[in-house]
Subunit: 428 residues, 2 copies
Amino acid sequence: MKPIKVGLLGLGTVGTGVVRIVEGHQEDLQSQTGSAIEIAKVLVSNKSKARDISIDASKLTEDPWEIIHHPDIDVIVEVMGGIEQTKQYIIEALSRGKHVVTANKDLMALHGPEILAVAQEHGCDVLYEASVAGGIPIIRTLIEGFSSDRITKIMGIVNGTTNYILTKMSQEGASYSDVLKEAQALGYAEADPTSDVEGLDAARKMTILATLGFRANVALDDVSVQGISSVSREDIQYAKRLGYELKLLGIAERQDDEFSISVQPTMVKQTHPIASVNGVFNAVYVHGEAVGETMFYGPGAGGMPTATSIVADLVAVVKNLKLGVNGKQGIMTYKEKKLKTDEQISSKYFLLLHVADRAGVLARITQVFADFEVSLESVLQQPNPVNPEAEIIVITHDANKAAMQKVLQTFEELDVIRKVKSVYRVEG
Amino acid sequence: MKPIKVGLLGLGTVGTGVVRIVEGHQEDLQSQTGSAIEIAKVLVSNKSKARDISIDASKLTEDPWEIIHHPDIDVIVEVMGGIEQTKQYIIEALSRGKHVVTANKDLMALHGPEILAVAQEHGCDVLYEASVAGGIPIIRTLIEGFSSDRITKIMGIVNGTTNYILTKMSQEGASYSDVLKEAQALGYAEADPTSDVEGLDAARKMTILATLGFRANVALDDVSVQGISSVSREDIQYAKRLGYELKLLGIAERQDDEFSISVQPTMVKQTHPIASVNGVFNAVYVHGEAVGETMFYGPGAGGMPTATSIVADLVAVVKNLKLGVNGKQGIMTYKEKKLKTDEQISSKYFLLLHVADRAGVLARITQVFADFEVSLESVLQQPNPVNPEAEIIVITHDANKAAMQKVLQTFEELDVIRKVKSVYRVEG
């Protein structure tokens, strides 16, 4: 079989990793696929920039169309990022019969169904293992490994930046702002960290995972999102004292055929396997009706881990080319999307309240929970170490989201409550 | 497409799980594959036995050949176990063009290459995801997820029985024999537990994983095996005090193109992700040159988890049938097998020695390590709590296996050493 020619869009950390793996593991790739794989053209923003790897200058171009319209290129590997313009490149490449491997979670979360439809129309593969959880082959696992099962829950630590921040806050008792600065200095957080710390990056990844796990086209707007920027070190210390770790979890849950998807800081029982996933590592916990509890752990980002997933997708495209079965993955989303209402979404909650330190306060507060039929697992009242008021810590039994919202609304009008300091979902 | 007809060999816990999933998830399976999947015939040892599931009596047979020679059956699912006779059935089924899905680790570890060769000759699939680590899709992960990478290390807790025993001994300070009895009563250990507790079951699974990870045909004889039957509760308590957990680990390691495979009780640093895998759960830790550290966790046995893997394989066979690409997985083992010599196999070791309590003993012992160029990470001498002698605990730096064997031989002749109480490999 003739060499497969790859057009690479982007030569940053991940693109460089792709070149390194394709060149360094050429013999292995050829043994597995029966074809040589050649990086034929690479899109860069500046051809004369100094680079970490030696690459033939004639392969570099600053013109994307030179790659997308190149008659000899079989596969486009997209690691440049961006949404609208990148989508245009990919759609055009597919319409010319080129297969696409992408690491672009933003693109797949926002335009996945449209891109996959164009691919199918032209008999092309679009593979995107690298778009979620870097080096962990979680997309393959959901599509193939659990094809036989009904996934009931996916919980993911799918953002390394926020997990690094929360781990440092937990292990060193540091403040959010101090750790964020450190993460920025180390290159684990961007200069503008909004997308990571406000949960948007995780929400995009959960959109992709929920779509595959529940086999219905989930949209980014279906995900309720809360970030970690208001998490205090006190919250984390309380969590630890009660036997929990605070993690930014993406949670997709299904009961019968109705589901909900959210991203929020969550108190996870320390005995749960996902509680001990620390630093920039990612993990995806998957519960299936038949299989039960599983978890997949690994590096969530980084040039080489992400490139591992991209080149594995490239191998799959080349194997499909050899067998003539590209674009025939079968239907992956065939279920109707039915989202749960707030009345149907149920979980345990942790609340930390600052209250007036006088008789009858606890009775007033617990009555509010009772009024909305939220039952309590544990209640602790203690003096606030700083102010002349008391603290009340409550962990509820499973309560529905709508009832909890009513409890919180009522608390706002209750004069004995000085402040609802924190409210977190509880898992495990 | 016409319904795909499955012949099921065996209707124990796993076979029953297969029937439950195929019937219960029929609509999902059909949406994914485009075909109905029907359990057409089932081999049982006694047709009139009472069963947990209702199954049409006309589907049951006590004659394996009725299934293997059945002209309408497309796929054989083998969950009966056994080796020589089962192999005969499978080879015969393949030679008649039937695809095979099997959970049989013994068969695949001993005769995998031969069976896969027959399958290829007849254009048939043989899939065996369920043969290792029950519900964890680790075989797919090694073949597809990491097709792009060079695996350098696989460490597996791949036997639930021994992990249950070691977890109980660690958490409750119980003795090996007491926990074994309890495990037998709960059905986690067989009446004759030899295959599990002596490491043979784990060795068979590691043969399969190493073959896929290193892409060379590893044989069971290539695995050096030591079980857990001589592990004492003292060993486990020492391990914990030093910050380790004692686990039965399968370890397959590669440097350049030479590798070694072993199964042995191993002291794993408590901070290593595999150290906290407890009870009957399984986990496989995979290190790749490019991807770095990953781990895959889930139920290692049980009817429904194992059936999840089997039916996922069945879905893959049906998708291949639809595309006409069965038996074309590509070459999975193309590397020459080069095993490391004992001089090349290197790890850290823990030793617990009972020694005479007199001057100069520690000097004599440390000199032996020095003579064979084994350097030491830490040494602790303390009075033995029971006998009028001293205990010496040594943790070495990386030492080669041949040198350690010479150290241990020399210790046998050293009069100041009363007993080499324990020797364990150390990881993490």
